[in-house]
């Protein structure tokens, strides 16, 4: 930034402002009393933490957050665990028709979600998984796995094949080479994939709404949506909840990002 031409610096600041200002406004608004939200805008003197008290004490917002965390983290773990070997096979092994498999995976993930809801509902009811964590994680895998497989196979393909060949000549099996060489080197890619899968599961709404039956299993988006009463929407609480939800995501992403940066420096040293 320091040596960048002024035009670039200005546009970088404009972009930052465009991204940060709405967020700042939301944070500020979440501390503003309800009656001031639609009249006069937020004013610093009258700030209150009332909305936060309300969502945690009256609405036990901890519950949807922990639900969302459990579901999103399990989905992420499952898609990385199942997706990595699959992506590796598609990227490296001399499989016939691997292009077709990848295209099919992509096609599946393009299927409109709403079209799957009725049949998934019946299936989940059949195996008594409605309103359970697995009942959300399994449907989430329908979009998370294709995403993970696509991204990971791209990352794996970028690694020099010589490294795995060398590992196998050194006595490692395919699986061992995947674990000892490919995964550590694809670390940044795995972390990126993890973040994207986590975000898409965290924000998922339709399945969560359809396959949960009560507040015990509501995830964050569903819970926030159901804040609205018959006659009014408690916007202050919605904003407070949104800020909390965003903070959780930010913490998770920043933790993973550390991994990405560490990975990037180790990836830079090609033998």
């Amino acid at each position: 930034m320091k040596n960048a031409p002024p035009a670039m610096r200005v546009s970088a600041w404009i972009l930052t402002a465009a991204l940060v200002l709405p967020l700042l406004w939301a944070v500020l608004a979440s501390f503003t009393p309800e009656q001031r939200l639609f009249g006069g805008g937020p004013i610093l003197r009258s700030l209150t933490s009332e909305h936060y008290r309300a969502i945690f004490v009256e609405r036990s917002f901890w519950l949807p957050i922990s639900n969302s965390l459990i579901v999103a983290l399990s989905t992420t773990a499952m898609s990385l665990l199942l997706g990595a070997p699959c992506a590796y096979a598609l990227a490296r092994l001399p499989l016939k028709g691997h292009q077709f498999v990848l295209a099919f995976v992509l096609a599946v993930s393009m299927f409109p979600q709403i079209a799957m809801v009725p049949s998934l509902y019946l299936m989940l009811r059949g195996v008594r998984l409605l309103d359970t964590y697995p009942g959300l994680v399994l449907p989430y895998l329908t979009f998370a796995l294709p995403l993970a497989v696509w991204l990971l196979s791209g990352f794996f393909r970028q690694l020099p094949a010589d490294l795995e060949d060398a590992a196998m000549l050194d006595g490692a099996s395919r699986v061992r080479a995947l674990r000892e060489i490919v995964l550590p080197l694809a670390g940044p890619g795995v972390a990126t994939t993890g973040i994207l899968v986590f975000l898409s599961s965290w924000n998922e709404f339709l399945f969560a709404l359809s396959f949960t039956l009560g507040p015990e299993r509501y995830t964050v988006p569903v819970a926030i949506t159901l804040f609205r009463g018959q006659y009014q929407v408690p916007w202050g609480q919605v904003l407070a909840a949104a800020v909390v939800a965003t903070s959780v995501v930010a913490v998770v992403v920043l933790a993973a990002q550390k991994r990405i940066v560490a990975g990037l420096t180790s990836g830079a040293i090609k033998g």
Binding site: D165, A167, L169, D170, S266, I269, G271
Partner: protein, 379 residues
């Protein structure tokens, strides 16, 4: 240590490209066989077939008497040095060297001592705690070599290990490799496109072209008695001179005439039959400068390249302006650009090839070497 045998091996890739064609090759126990050929001739594929990284379409691969045709790379017990070095970037040099031993379940203390020993042998003891990114090209090359050698494998495969080094370092490392091979006495297969590297390193060399072995033999035998036109022009630097000739038997001897020659070459001791069209090859070194009236060839100097120990001349014969001849003359020879120069071709070093098939035709009894041997000879 073990021998390596390739028994009628053919490799056809899924794309239909034939990389290796019915190849028969044996590397004796303790021998360094240099596999040399132009890029794309299939020499790296041969190495990958031995390593198990490719499966042959037909034929067998035998290591140490054991048929390993379908065995996985990790079960073949061979070490390999890659052209790209393929060092594990996320591991230190120590971990790189020890990786093969760790994969084979060797105890930590044994790994440590083997790594120290290998590092000492290659002079990379101070680098053990660095990562590959912190090493120079030459150091990486040593680590790659060390990673293969740290484990006592049955055979070592080296895929153009010196091609990424700068020329000076390459020559030094080449000598070190030769010494190392003498010292270890391991079976090695060495792939290179550099004929000089192959000549200097190989106990024997195998010259490949288009997936086939054209000739196998000791370096000097291959140099002196190339089995065909391709081998003659690939081995030896500067490149051999080739000229089309017509043969005629005059009285008892065959004489070979060409528009390039002022007088025909006479083969005094050859008594066989020759096809009407042949190609004659003579190395730039196998000539003697003569006055123009005694010369086989008279040409004009168009380029002088002083190499230091000798001088390379490019000659053009006025009657055939398309062809240029290369001659190596002693460095103290006084020559001028544009000067007319006459020389005789040493008949005892002449190579005669069939124009149609490229095969070597005439076996002239050599004046200063044993009889030509085409059959591989082991030490």
């Amino acid at each position: 240590m073990a021998s390596i045998q390739l028994d009628h091996v053919t490799k056809i890739y899924e794309t239909g490209q034939v990389a290796v064609r019915d190849l028969d090759l044996t590397v004796a126990d303790g021998e360094l066989l240099a596999l040399v050929g132009p890029s794309g001739c299939g020499k790296s594929t041969v190495l990958r077939l031995v390593a198990g990284l490719e499966m042959p379409t037909r034929g067998r691969v035998v290591i140490g008497g054991e048929d390993v045709t379908t065995a996985a790379p990790q079960d073949r017990d061979v070490g390999m040095v890659f052209q790209s070095y393929a060092l594990y970037p996320h591991m230190t040099v120590r971990q790189n060297l020890g990786f093969g031993l760790r994969m084979r379940g060797v105890s930590a203390s044994d790994i440590a001592s083997a790594v120290e020993k290998t590092a000492g042998m290659l002079g990379i003891g101070e680098l053990l705690d660095r990562r590959p990114a912190q090493l120079s090209g030459g150091q990486r090359q040593r680590v790659a070599l060390g990673r293969a050698l740290a484990r006592h494998a049955r055979a070592y495969l080296l895929d153009e290990p010196l091609s990424n080094l700068d020329p000076l370092l390459r020559v030094d490392t080449r000598s070190e490799l030769a010494l190392l091979h003498q010292q270890l006495g391991s079976t090695m297969m060495y792939v290179t496109h550099d004929q000089e590297e192959a000549m200097t390193l190989g106990s024997r060399i195998a010259v490949m072209q288009a997936g086939m072995v054209e000739q196998v033999g000791r370096p000097l035998d291959v140099y002196r008695y190339p089995a065909n036109r391709f081998v003659a022009s690939f081995i030896g630097s500067p490149r051999v001179n080739l000229c089309a000739c017509t043969g005629a038997r005059s009285s008892a001897n065959w004489s070979l005439a060409s528009p390039l020659f002022v007088q025909p070459l006479v083969l005094p001791t050859f008594d066989g039959e020759l096809p009407p069209r042949v190609e004659v090859g003579f190395r730039p070194q196998d000539i003697e400068l003569r006055a123009t009236d005694e010369a086989h060839v008279v040409g004009r100097i168009i380029l002088i390249e002083p190499l230091g120990p000798a001088t390379l001349l490019h000659l053009r014969v006025d009657s055939t302006p398309d062809a240029a001849l290369r001659l190596v003359v002693p460095a103290d020879t006084v020559v001028r650009h544009g000067e007319l120069l006459g020389f005789r071709i040493r008949i005892d070093r002449l190579h005669v090839f069939d124009s149609a098939t490229g095969r070597r035709l005439v076996e002239l009894p050599p004046s200063d070497a044993g009889p030509a041997k085409m059959a591989p000879e082991h030490r």
